[in-house]
């Protein structure tokens, strides 16, 4: 073949039919496949048996980083590097450090959450192998698209197409590299 195969895609417009089909594709044992939807469809990630995201741990690391920075900064600058007596108050006390501890915890969590999200979703990636496919483009509009990638071990273009048609997908076709 002059053009290599990227995968097979099929369209759905009904969310219940989609959910049923996704369950079947999961059961069939495919590993390299995905469902593209215009909005998050409830329960689809569970149906696909996607492993729970570890994003929460990344966020938590951001929180710890933020609060450590805040406490360290306020204690070290005030009590170690340049102790300055202001109104006879303590050089460092956790009580006055609370507002900045809080703000930097939030800031650290937010930054790490967004960076973690970008990392886990592999963003930014300004290229997608399906990007010129018309069905794929509709997936951000009004169509649910199941795509089975050619690099899946079980992949065979004919079987995959037949399988998707059987599940009720419309406009099933092979996507070739352009």
């Amino acid at each position: 073949m002059s053009k290599s195969t990227i995968g097979v895609v099929g369209e759905f417009t009904d969310v219940n039919a989609l959910t049923a089909a996704v369950a079947k594709v999961t059961d069939a044992g495919y590993q390299r496949w995905d469902v593209y939807t215009p909005y998050p469809v409830h329960g689809l990630d569970k149906t696909m048996k996607i492993k729970r995201s570890y994003l929460t741990y990344i966020s938590f690391a951001g929180l710890l980083g933020g609060i450590t920075t805040a406490l360290g900064l306020q204690w070290w600058t005030g009590a170690v590097d340049y102790p300055l007596n202001i109104g006879g108050k303590q050089l460092f006390a956790w009580q006055f450090s609370v507002p900045i501890d809080f703000e930097l915890s939030i800031l650290g969590t937010a930054l790490m959450t967004v960076m973690g999200l970008f990392h886990l979703c592999r963003l930014p990636t300004w290229y997608n192998k399906y990007q010129d496919d018309e069905s794929f483009k509709k997936a951000t509009d009004d169509t649910f698209v199941i795509a089975i990638d050619a690099d899946d071990d079980r992949f065979s273009a004919d079987n995959a197409q037949q399988f998707l048609r059987q599940l009720g997908a419309q406009n099933v076709h092979i996507v070739h590299a352009s």
Partner: protein, 477 residues
């Protein structure tokens, strides 16, 4: 109550029962439509306002803040009034995007995008005010802890230092939250718009979002975390702003009621500003299908509730002033209501406490001209609240010989008009080039958008959506 019953009682959140494609097409059409003369004229007008304000700002910076009406003893005037005013405006956006999200208020999906945009623009205005008030804004980095040749650090025991951290954190987190919410919608526009340039621009900013379920899985968790941390953040920001006053020992400022009172006032004023702009926006951009009377009704209810909270605070302040037994504290409040600035105090009281009372009536909550007028009143009233707090405490201090009166000069007035210009210009640009409604979120709450079996309401397909929460679900859904 069955889901079927719910269906009959609840008003639909989106009118006209649009399909998924209708939602995309409607919002994208705003971006795709040709720029009209009316739009350009409006933009020209607001940009002129902004330009005039920036000129006044330039004059202030090159000459010094002596061009303002500040004097001894009144060291804070319109600068800090405007700062607190603008920071407060921002709070409605975060409340809608974060707190209403956690409470599963699905109606927020129609208004969260524009309210969040207002948050960011309002904080930009607030930063303009607070930087110019430092007098030498080119030395802004002195506010930050950085190693320098003087070996000095900022004083972390000062609420002014806390404020720097609070406001900058608020701006950063709001911008991140807004951008994460925008990602899927920018991808929608990338695939929808016809012009090549627009495709490239939206393509760049959507970062290659595909709508993959594997990505949505992470996305929903990220959105939940951001909402979760923005909720305490929004409560903290105006609390920290109020510390700028309360930690000082001046009568009228040194009170424990300030943090909750400021937060309630911030939400109150923010909703008023959101209301003012949305009433215009839904008319001009023809968004009545998405921003329905039900949305406006709900916002009016929140304004009524927060308006009562500030009303309670106004009255309680007087009681505590008397109950404290402190002569200075008592006198400052008598002076506030009956002294030189009584006109400002009663303007505030009438606008903030009396005017929202009409929202007890359902017909008033759904009367658009009326709610527009009331929202303007509240905007005015909340500005006067900050002015009253600042001016009445400062103008008569402990030493009668130094008592004074403060009025702004044309420079301060111009800068304030300029911040409105900046705010409105940014909002107009946003309304034209960015999806004003959260497309993906609205799609997710349309009837039949979610699988029917999923929520225990399996009476029939059409009714089950009534129980589906808005866009993101709890992490382990």
């Amino acid at each position: 109550m069955t889901a079927q019953h719910h269906e009959q009682v609840r008003e639909p959140l989106v009118l006209g029962n649009p399909s998924l494609r209708d939602v995309t097409a409607r919002i994208a059409s705003i971006v795709e439509s040709k720029i009209s003369m009316k739009y350009l004229l409006t933009l020209g007008f607001t940009a002129t306002m902004a330009g005039w304000g920036l000129f006044a700002l330039y004059y202030t910076i090159t000459t010094g803040i002596g061009v303002w009406g500040l004097n001894n003893p009144i060291g804070w005037g319109w600068d800090i009034t405007n700062f607190v005013f603008w920071i407060g405006i921002g709070h409605a956006g975060t409340l809608i995007s974060a707190i209403l999200f956690l409470f599963r208020q699905k109606w927020r999906t129609a208004i969260n995008r524009s309210a969040e945009a207002m948050t960011i623009f309002a904080v930009i205005c607030a930063l303009t005010m607070v930087l110019s008030h430092t007098g030498r804004p080119w030395l802004f980095y002195w506010l930050l802890p950085y190693p320098n040749q003087m070996q000095m650090w900022v004083n972390f025991r000062s609420p002014l230092a806390w404020d720097v951290f609070a406001v900058n954190t608020y701006f950063t987190v709001s911008a991140l939250f807004w951008f994460v919410g925008l990602l899927p919608d920018l991808a929608t526009l990338r695939n929808y718009v016809k012009s090549d340039l627009a495709k490239k621009i939206y393509g760049f900013f959507s970062f290659g979002w595909t709508g993959s379920t594997r990505s949505w899985h992470h996305y929903e968790i990220a959105y939940m975390i951001l909402a979760g941390i923005s909720t305490p953040l929004v409560l903290s920001v105006h609390s920290v702003v109020s510390f700028d006053f309360t930690v000082g020992i001046l009568p009228g400022w040194h009170t424990t009621i300030f943090p909750p009172y400021f937060v309630a006032g911030a939400i109150f004023s923010g909703f008023a500003m959101v209301m003012t702009l949305l009433v215009i926006c839904r008319e001009i951009l023809d968004l009545k299908q998405f921003i329905t009377l039900k949305h406006l009704d709900n916002m009016n209810k929140i304004m009524l509730a927060t308006g009562m909270m500030v009303g309670y605070a106004y009255i309680l302040e007087f009681f505590i002033a008397w109950y404290s037994g402190s002569d200075w504290e008592s006198w400052i409040f008598i002076n506030r209501a009956f002294g030189d600035y009584a006109w400002a105090y009663w303007t505030m009281f009438t606008c903030n406490v009396v005017s929202p009372q009409v929202f007890w009536f359902a017909s008033a909550r759904r009367n658009i001209p009326l709610m527009f007028i009331i929202s303007i009143f509240i905007n005015i009233g909340m500005w006067f609240e900050r002015f009253t707090i600042i001016a009445t405490t400062l103008h008569h201090d402990f030493l009668p010989a130094s008592w004074g009166y403060y009025s702004p000069t044309w420079v301060e007035i111009s800068i304030f008009i300029g911040t409105f210009g900046i705010f409105l210009t940014l909002f107009l640009l946003f309304a034209k080039f960015v999806p004003v409604i959260a497309i993906a979120e609205v799609k997710s709450i349309l009837p039949g958008a979610q699988p029917a079996h999923h929520h225990g309401h399996d009476h029939d397909h059409d009714s089950a959506h009534a129980a589906v929460p808005a866009v993101a679900t709890e992490g382990g859904h």
